[in-house]
Symmetry: C2
Subunit: 199 residues, 2 copies
């Protein structure tokens, strides 16, 4: 594959993610991806034989992996409260830096039933599950029981996603700062008195 | 206004809400609203001179008011933990009863930047703010300080909305049950030892 071709593949994926974040899944058409990326029309089905559905699915997986990397590196320090703060800070900054125009591309796909491509929603669901499991594993390492770890991890991801939606609508970082503060306190309380991870 | 006319007005709004929940804002076109509602094409601009934007805005306000009523009645019993449970149960049941196809119409509008009608996002933001304030007022009445009440209320709404999105993608009520359980415990803990509301 020539560098130029692989270049337009990447550009198209980046544009797809940007459009999903800003305008949602239905509005992310091939025409818009081409206009946004400047990629030649002929390259779409060359790089994405599955067309629009494949573009969206790959964009969701990539964006999910990227955030999984952020979570993984936040989790490395093995400080649950700090990891949570890092996670919420990344989202708050994204929101503010885009003037509250860009949300989460995974949510964009999850909120639209697509009868022709029901696997898109499942892909989004798997991304959320991956993020949840990364947090749950951290909480388990810090001595929380399996069930509690899973519940807390679900709360972290749900509160983040909900707060991003609310913050976007309200043009404010307040919702995300509020949930970050509450979850921080909740976590410190949950972990206090628990046996520490063996290391 | 004849009963029939007001009938098609209401039908169109109900269809708009149903389409927003299921397919998102971009997919909610006037053609689809007409097909879904069976309302005559000529009645659209009669009832909604602002067209599609007006339809969506009124649907968001109506759906927001409906849920505000649910919150208001849950809050009447003046038992914060029970009110929260009621709120999450309503959302969980909605999700399960629609076979995980229908989410929140307010979120649907909030996740799509609409450059032609930026007030739609603000309307969605105001709906969230109304729900938040109803919960915050309840928490204040139970002795929590202003700031904490607002933070907790933001967490309740954010976690609910995020969990509905995740539950839809994962075809599961687990995320919403997880966040409901965590927030229930958090609330009981926050309220314990606080001065009770005077009554």
């Amino acid at each position: 594959m020539s560098p130029r071709k692989s270049d337009s593949r990447e550009k198209m994926l980046r544009s797809t993610t940007a459009l999903l974040r800003e305008y949602g899944a239905s509005a992310t058409s091939i025409d818009r991806v081409l206009a946004h990326s400047g990629a030649p029309r002929g390259s779409v089905y060359h790089h994405f034989p599955g067309g629009r559905t494949q573009l969206i699915e790959e964009a969701v997986v990539l964006a999910g992996d990227f955030m999984a990397g952020v979570i993984e590196s936040a989790v490395q320090a093995d400080d649950p409260a700090a990891a949570i703060n890092e996670f919420f800070t990344v989202w708050r900054d994204r929101l503010a830096e885009s003037a509250f125009r860009r949300g989460c591309p995974i949510v964009a796909v999850a909120v639209e039933t697509n009868d022709e491509a029901p696997h898109l929603a499942r892909t989004a669901g798997a991304v959320f599950a991956g993020w949840q499991e990364a947090f749950a594993a951290l909480f388990r390492r810090h001595g929380l029981p399996e069930e509690r770890s899973r519940r807390l991890a679900a709360l972290v991801v749900a509160a983040e996603e909900g707060a991003v939606v609310m913050g976007r609508a309200q043009q404010s970082t307040e919702p995300i700062e509020a949930v970050a503060a509450e979850i921080h306190d909740l976590l410190v309380h949950a972990l206090s008195g628990r046996p520490q991870a063996e290391s």
